[in-house]
Symmetry: C2
Subunit: 246 residues, 2 copies
DNA sequence: CCGCTTTATTGACCCAGCTCAATCCGGCCT
DNA sequence: AGGCCGGATTGAGCTGGGTCAATAAAGCGG
């Protein structure tokens, strides 16, 4: 079964889901080989985004969701008046844009934190394909459901946790996401600025900086610029959800 | 076209989507008459929940989502250690349980705030039906997407807004939800305790109480126990998202 | 390699909202 | 009716983390 167009694209170095190292984490996760190529066919590759470039802007018409292939992004919502709110960081294999389905506009801008490549998945096609492929549909429901769950965890963090717990949670969560992707959970590079971390966690930059310094002086982590080494993971995990003395 | 079983149920006072006053807000929103009866067929009615009763408990196996028919509920997540976090209030026509799809467990308990009736929609059937009815599928995607968007608004509230702004936002949002459901946006009854409001908004009960008193003394609202009258809606809306005096 | 700009760290001070504690109120049961 | 109990209000202080300000260090373009 020759799929010449697709093959030519592949030879011309357009990557395909079948050969993507993320396929075990990404949307096609549950698909059979023969279904993956159907899925692959609706995907549009994109030129890599440079650091600071937007994948899309808040208010733009919703048309596609995107799977992160490499790099990382942040989602920022501006809501009229004052400050922006950074609502999410996206790592490879994660799905961007699901919150735009409802009112057909992206509710926030998504911006690359470093050189980043994404796969564009036109939602119309994704929806149509999800009619034929129950596994794909299930995976899509699951992705959205997981994001809902993560959001609720974030609400808990924002409304109940101290600044120290927030930072500890942020680091353990990132660490875990790296581990799942096959990277070291102990040593990694932050692709976001301190200001982004603060904005995301509901803290002032200065607080983020102070707490990282403190964690460092307590030998829990070693931080140098954006390089992070977790020295005492159990302690960090303890800090993340226990505490609250009294 | 006689659907005798269903009709008999209807006569025996089991309600049906076709006659439900919420149908224009609820899941079947986009369906044709003939499709609604298919949808109606998979729904299980439930005995009303009394105040304080749980629809389901955190950790229970996920099997169904629920549409609120009357009354209201709160979702509470316990996360191991200390405090609970109240992550959502649900009003009639809203869908409960969508965050349980992913890992097949409900990630929080959902408890009735007053006498409440719900329609149970077994997810297996809903998924299967969503294969045949693109409109239903779309509506489901939209519901989840909307919940994601609302969550992000909540994150913004929790991480950037002052206590006064939070209360004002809470009241305007509730007001709007009542309006959409055909109730007065100016005068309504809170079904939740102050403690619930505080927990939801990330504030101490005392703060909620103090701010309600202050809003009252400023003639923005009149509060008496759980009865709320919004006296100055424009002012309340202003309080909700502007402010931040520098 | 050198300024220049952006980002990060550290210190000093202050205040919004928390905690603790004392009522107060309303519903409900006997 | 009266008493009781849980929820709500109000007051008094305390403090975590914000703000403002001053460096320091890291990119980065030339």
């Amino acid at each position: 079964m020759p799929i010449s167009a697709s093959q030519r694209r592949s030879l011309a170095q357009a990557p395909r889901c079948q050969t993507c190292s993320l396929s075990s984490l990404c949307l096609p996760l549950a698909l059979q080989i023969e279904d993956i190529s159907q899925f692959d066919a609706i995907i549009r590759r994109r030129a890599p985004l440079k650091k600071g470039e937007a994948l899309f802007h808040q208010g733009e018409r919703f048309s596609s969701v995107f799977a992160v292939r490499s790099g990382s992004l942040k989602q920022v919502t501006s809501e009229g008046n004052g400050e922006d709110q950074l609502t999410n960081f996206y790592l490879p294999s994660e799905l961007v844009g699901l919150d735009g389905i409802d009112d057909e506009c992206y509710p926030g801008s998504v911006v690359a934190l470093e050189t980043t490549t994404v796969c564009e998945i036109p939602f119309k096609h994704l929806d149509a394909l999800s009619e034929q492929l129950p596994e794909l549909r299930g995976q899509l429901y699951r992705s959205m459901s997981k994001e809902l769950r993560d959001d609720r965890r974030m609400m808990r963090l924002l409304s109940r946790k101290t600044a120290d717990q927030r930072l500890a949670t942020f680091l353990t969560t990132l660490s875990d996401r790296f581990r799942r992707r096959g990277y070291s959970p102990y040593s990694f590079r932050l692709s976001m600025a301190r200001a982004d971390i603060g904005n995301y966690l509901g803290l002032a930059v200065e607080t983020v900086s102070r707490i990282l310094s403190r964690l460092q002086s307590q030998q829990v982590v070693a931080v140098s610029g954006r390089e992070v080494n977790i020295l005492d993971m159990p302690r960090l995990i303890t800090l993340a959800d226990e505490e609250t003395p009294t």
